[in-house]
Amino acid sequence: MMPRKNLLVSAVRKEQILKTLAQGKRVDGRGLLDYRPLSITPNVIEKAEGSALVKLGDTHVIAGVKMGVGTPFPDTPNEGILIVNAEILPTASEYQEPGPPDEDSIELARVVDRGIRESKMIDFSKLVIEPGKHVYTVYVDISVIGMDGNLFDASSYAAVVALMTTKYYPFINQNGNLVKGSEKVPLPIQDLGISTTFAKIDSYIIVDPTWEEESIMEARLTMVYDKSGDICAVQKGGNGGLLLDDVLKIVDLAKSKSEEMRKVLEGVISNA
């Protein structure tokens, strides 16, 4: 019916993970609140208007931005359109089957979408060519090519860096005809939502869980903060509950962690 979502973690390995956590460490040598090594390479796909390859440990995600022209939604005639799609490719793990996006891919795309949309990252009112008729559609396609946990943050970073580095040929409305401009322009970026994901294992709160850690966690919590420090998207995941106190703790931890990750991403973008 459904492909395996979790790794089988042996009792001995689980005990080892918990014992290591009790000493304030992770089995891969990290502290509880450390991210894995993060590398972000923008502009990896020349044919895309924007792109980024993110390697968060062994989780590898590539995001590409394509710009299209479409008709606006009737209720928002003066706004461009954002479409986010994600696919966990069969290359990502031995358990992933080819086929239409499953619930995990759909959730992933929708949470990344929420982070971009609700942080008001893009000023969609500036992506209108002819009000009510022609607006830009920003397609963000995310491909998970290697899977080792925390797809949410990796995909979100890939998507936002791809958007920040997007350059496209604008269309100009000449007497009802759309004419392609000659010089590329960037997207109207006005904010940057930063995603951070925490997991609860036994009594420990950790950041950036690996797949093995996700397989034994109680639950996870992804939080997105905008540049003013407000929360703009939240998603709890996993088939366990989170203590109310833990939620309150994670809200504060996530805020300081997001400030740290914001500097990393801004560094990448300014060097792009």
């Binding site: 609700e118 639950a219 919590l221 407000d230 939240v234 509950g241 203590l243 109310l244």
Partner: protein
Amino acid sequence: MENPLIVNGKRTDGRSPTELRPLKIDVGIIKNAAGSSYIEHGKNKIIVAIYGPRDSHRYGMNIERATLRCRYHMSPFSTEERKSPQPSRREIEISKVIRDALEPSLILENFPKTMIDVFVEVLQSDGGSRSASITAASVALADAGIPMKDLVEAVAVGKVDGTLVLDLNDIEDKEGESDMPVAFMLNENKVTLLQMDGKMTVEEFKAGLMMAMEAAKKIKEIQKEALAKKYSKGDRKNDA
């Protein structure tokens, strides 16, 4: 801003910021189901049917516990504009988060190699249909006799015209600044569903959580009354 959503402390439907919409639950409405419920929460009208635990030998089944499956589906006539009957991406995501919200409460280890299906059908939708679905599904699971650690109840909070409000209706959901559905297992002080979109400060977020928890306590009483109403009548087979 076009029309204000709060005037003199009253919302579009006349409620105060911390007031719940009318909420009514019936238990055992579908004879064939192992358990079932019907909820009216504001204009939401939702039925939930539970089938199982039933045998399953399908690939991917868990040999140590029951596999919980959940389908949240909106009827084509449940919205202003007809909704295509095909499951949308939104419905697929909601199905998943409802399952994740219910599963922590259930003792699935009692039924290895089986599956339990939760079918949620939204006959009419209003703001907060996923929250109402969770509240109703938990009651239906209790009706089905699935052992559980606690009932689960859910409610949304959000920010409307700069004010924190409880239990958003359709307009507030669409036009408000933020929407945050939360589900609780009160016995264990646990949160089993938490989503948010829109904008909130850290302080508002924390205050919103507390506001939702107070409301969940009230909803739990309604859930318990609904179950008591059915089972006080005696043998459930006779009144289904």
